[in-house]
């Protein structure tokens, strides 16, 4: 229900155009692999004529969503609606859902229920084309042949389903000529025209990426799905890619892309959907998403997401951290663990200045809390102005709490595992909202982890922290995590 609740939140999408005229609607999509929930009740819309970006940390379930949309996976639950022609066509969608049919088409409108269609039919009928994260070209065929294979279905009809073609009927020759023209058009657009007769496997990496896009475009798609198109490109190629995508949008094809390169995403996207652990945490324009606290938290709280490329998010982190600034820096006992990368050690170093003493500090933090307390649902957990006698616990030993969040928890007076261990449902809800982490505390079971740690035991995650494999707010310590 989290996804739906979020979608309903007014701040996110007040009458955005992608909700008014979506080409693709993903509704309550859930994908489970055995016990693993890769995508959990996800809903979002892709606006007609928009460039929509799907972003999120590694393992957030982006590619799974793609594979569901393009039919390579059958979703466990949910509905995926593809629309040709303007408007929601809600009536047709509802009728179709009840009917058990896969699609319905009238003159200039059509509705497809993608979750019912096999992959090749989605490409052929619903006109959804895609590229792959690890490029999948026909390496032993020439660039031109790759583009002709993409026009298979039209050419198949023109060749009279092979029979006419074998007999050498003239219709096919003409159709092939047109297909080559279309291929040439896209080859020119992608700067590949000089390599048309070379095997695709011979092209350099960037050109292969462009060829894959050209090939997808040759199928004449209404929606183009790109799985990390900028991965491995140099800055110049990246810029060219932006121009290409904008050109594709101008031709009337909507674009849905997964991307890690925030430069690309922020620059060209009309609409961004952010996933974390298979759940949508933000949805809106680039402007909205970049200032969304949840996005910042997601990108920071996750221990294995070492690099953050977005300057805006970095700035936001700074702000969050500075909220609790009036503290005196304290020297860490040991040097930071080796494994920390540039950005996390940065976050770590700020977090390491954990508040230790001083009236001023506690006053400042309680003030902060008081100001915000009312805005969060649930009950604010009891906190103390300063840590107990033994010093604060290293809360980052709990899987899911990163340095930034430890900072924020300290700010509301949470210093010890025992405090977290005593949280009830209401407190969890409050903290979840406070950290912009709805649902995550339960999922990662912070309370249980905290209970174990408070009792002096170890968890699988804390062991990783202690051995220095995960960036932490303290140098690795074995005993209880007291800093």
């Amino acid at each position: 229900m989290t996804g739906a609740a979020l979608a309903a939140a007014p701040a996110m999408s007040d009458g955005a155009r992608w909700d008014a005229d979506p080409i693709l609607s993903v509704e309550h999509l859930t994908m489970r692999f055995g016990g693993l929930v890769a995508v959990d009740d996800l809903s979002f819309n892709v606006g007609r004529g928009d460039i929509t970006a799907l972003i999120g940390p590694n393992g957030a379930g982006k590619t799974t969503v793609f594979n569901c949309v393009t039919g390579f996976y059958k979703p466990t639950e949910g509905r995926i609606v593809m629309r040709h022609g303007a408007g929601l066509q809600q009536e047709t969608v509802n009728e179709l859902t009840d009917s058990g049919l896969r699609w319905r088409a009238s003159d200039d409108h059509a509705v497809f229920l993608l979750e019912r269609m096999p992959d090749f039919e989605i490409a052929h009928k619903a006109k959804v084309a895609r590229t792959f994260q690890n490029i999948r070209l026909f390496g032993g065929m020439t660039v031109l042949e790759n583009l002709l294979v993409a026009q298979h279905n039209e050419l198949m009809v023109a060749s009279g389903f092979t029979f006419g073609g074998i007999l050498g009927l003239p219709g096919y020759r003409q159709a092939q000529g047109e297909a080559i023209d279309r291929a040439v058009y896209w080859l020119e657009r992608t700067n590949l025209i000089d390599r048309a007769d070379d095997p695709a496997g011979d092209l350099p990496y960037g050109a292969q990426r462009r060829l894959e896009i050209a090939r997808a475009m040759c199928t004449g798609p209404h929606l183009l799905c790109l799985d990390e198109p900028a991965a491995g490109l140099n800055p110049r190629e990246s810029t060219e890619l932006n121009q290409l995508l904008q050109f594709i949008r101008e031709t009337g094809t909507s674009v849905l892309l997964i991307e890690h390169d925030m430069g690309v995403v922020m620059e060209i996207s009309d609409h961004i959907v952010v996933l974390d652990y298979g759940v949508k945490i933000s949805d809106g324009s680039a402007e909205f998403v970049r200032t969304d606290a949840r996005v910042i938290a997601a990108y920071l709280g996750v221990d294995d997401e070492a690099e953050i490329d977005v300057p805006e998010i970095k700035a936001d982190v700074k702000e969050v951290v500075e909220h609790a600034k009036p503290v005196k820096a304290r020297k860490p006992r040991k040097a930071a663990s080796k494994a920390t990368s540039a950005s996390s050690s940065r976050a770590g170093s700020t977090a390491r200045k954990s508040p230790s003493s001083g009236k001023k500090a506690s006053k400042a933090s309680t003030q902060t809390v008081a100001k915000e307390a009312g805005t969060h649902p649930g009950k604010q957990p009891a906190g103390s102005a300063k840590p107990g006698a033994g010093g604060a616990d290293n809360l980052t030993r709990i899987g899911g709490i990163g340095p930034a969040n430890e900072k924020k928890l300290n700010a509301v007076g949470i210093w010890h595992f025992s405090q977290i261990a005593s949280w009830k449902k209401a407190e969890v809800e409050w903290i979840g909202s406070y950290l912009s982490f709805p649902g995550r505390i339960e999922r990662e079971d912070w309370v249980k982890q905290a209970k174990a740690l408070a009792a002096g035991k170890e968890t699988a995650f804390s062991r990783r922290v202690d051995s220095g494999k995960v960036p932490s707010s303290r140098a690795s310590t074995r005993k209880g995590g007291k800093a």
Partner: protein, 462 residues
């Protein structure tokens, strides 16, 4: 160390290579002694009162010595030599030929013309052995056709089919049974046999085509065996191991190749000769093979052919482009099977007698070997491989001088398959991608460029 020492042997060899070569040759000889011990000097034979062992120590010693000497020479001149003589030969060969653009096409045309006049060439040049040579030409042409048919499945679509002989059998038995039960002639039965084989291709293909690589291979092998076992045991219908005889001979627009007044010879005012019928059979299989080739070349330039090759390269990408991969695989299977069926009914009419023994796994293996040795997907490669493998093996039958060396008991025929197998291994080790390794693009914008074999993938789950 880097200074090469010229030696009297004519090949530059590392200073201590003699010792190494000797040691290596000794190892090889020892291995042969071990491997051969239970087979060369000792032979179990049925004797009164059970099995008895006969001893043939000279053969064992001879084998060991031959391997020792052969390995030593190979070491000195090829393996351990600075400049192996094979490389010199290879340079000379590749330097002079095979680099000329358009050679493949020219070679194809030359082969075509040669094949078209072959029977007359044979009758003119070898009048004494014309029947035998034309028979051999027919056999080779049959394998060429089978190779081309299988090339569609394995070479283009990349589906590993180890049971291709099943469709050959279906074609042969279709014709034989249609003739026996309905009295159909060759020309009437030929298309039906092809259609039936294609139909079986679809029936067998449908459930198994979603299997990958080796699983597909083993299931097709199993299907091939199933069909053979059924033919062998369904006595009432197929006459079981006794086979079907009296299969009608083909006619030329109703003209039979008989001695009578209404025969072919009498109609054209020629003197009757049995060779006419062989020449006629040759042209039937020649035309059938050329049709196979023509259709395959056409198909490659059609969307379905391109889809086959794309399927071989990357099935998932194909699906993302809207290609129904199941149907595409089925068409490859069915069209390949159809040509197998045509070849099968030709086989039946040529032999006049068929039995399940002609359709063993060995046949499938030989056809597959021809396709792979020729170079996957290459039409000319299939021709070369068929001529080399089938022609070469059949020629062994006729080598009389070997029995002068090895004595009158020596029968080269029984070594035929042994040499065939060794040749298969040797050629494959020498040229793992087959003889013709480049791929011709099916569509060209400006300039036709050949695609090297290292680019082209081999299909199904590799």
């Amino acid at each position: 160390m880097a200074v090469a020492q010229r030696t009297g042997l004519g090949a530059a060899i590392e200073p201590n290579a003699y010792a190494a070569s000797l040691k290596d040759a000794a190892m090889a000889a020892f291995l042969v002694a071990v491997l051969g011990f239970f087979f060369l000097p000792l032979r179990t034979d049925i004797a009164p009162g059970g099995l008895a062992i006969t001893y043939r120590w000279p053969i064992w010693v001879a084998a060991i010595l031959i391997v020792f000497g052969g390995r030593l020479l190979l070491n000195l001149f090829v393996f351990k030599a600075r400049k192996p003589i094979t490389r010199t030969i290879g340079e000379q060969m590749s330097g002079s030929s095979l680099r000329v653009p358009g050679l493949g096409r020219a070679l194809g045309m030359a082969l075509f013309v040669f094949a078209a006049i072959l029977p007359f060439f044979i009758t003119a040049v070898f009048p004494a052995q014309q029947r035998q040579f034309i028979d051999l030409a027919i056999l080779i042409m049959t394998y060429i056709m089978l190779g081309w048919g299988l090339n569609i499945v394995v070479g283009l679509a990349g589906l590993l089919d180890l049971g291709y002989v099943a469709f050959y059998a279906v074609g042969a038995y279709s014709f034989a049974l249609l003739a026996e039960y309905f009295g159909l002639g060759f020309w009437m039965a030929l298309p039906l046999a092809g259609i039936l084989a294609a139909f079986w291709g679809v029936i067998l293909g449908f459930p198994v085509l979603r299997l990958r690589g080796d699983y597909l291979a083993i299931v097709t092998l199993a299907f091939g065996e199933i069909i053979r076992i059924v033919l062998l045991n369904w006595y009432e219908f197929t006459n079981g191991p006794d086979g079907i005889s009296g299969i009608p001979k083909p006619t030329l627009f109703g003209l039979e190749f008989t001695r009578g007044d209404d025969g072919f010879a009498a109609f054209f005012g020629l003197e009757y000769s049995t060779i006419h019928r062989f020449i006629f059979l040759y042209y039937i299989i020649f035309v059938l093979a050329i049709i196979t080739n023509f259709v395959t070349i056409r198909l490659r330039k059609l969307p379905v052919g391109r889809a086959w090759e794309a399927l071989r390269e990357d099935e998932i990408a194909c699906r993302s482009l809207g290609i129904n991969t199941t149907n595409t695989k089925l068409t490859a299977f069915a069209i390949g099977a159809m040509f197998g069926g045509f070849a099968g009914s030709f086989f039946a009419t040529r032999q006049g007698f068929i039995s399940p023994e002609s359709f063993t796994f060995l046949e499938s293996a030989i056809i597959l070997a021809i396709v792979v040795l020729g170079g996957l997907g290459s039409q000319v490669g299939v021709v070369i491989a068929s001529v080399v493998m089938i022609g070469g093996i059949e020629l062994l039958r006729n080598i009389g001088f070997l029995s002068q060396i090895f004595g009158p008991d020596f029968d080269p025929v029984q070594y035929r398959m042994l040499i065939f197998g060794l040749a298969m291994v040797a050629i494959m080790v020498w040229k793992p991608r087959g003889l013709i390794t480049t791929r011709n693009p099916s569509a060209v914008l400006k300039e036709r460029k050949k695609i090297g074999a290292d680019m082209v993938s081999q299909g199904e789950g590799h």
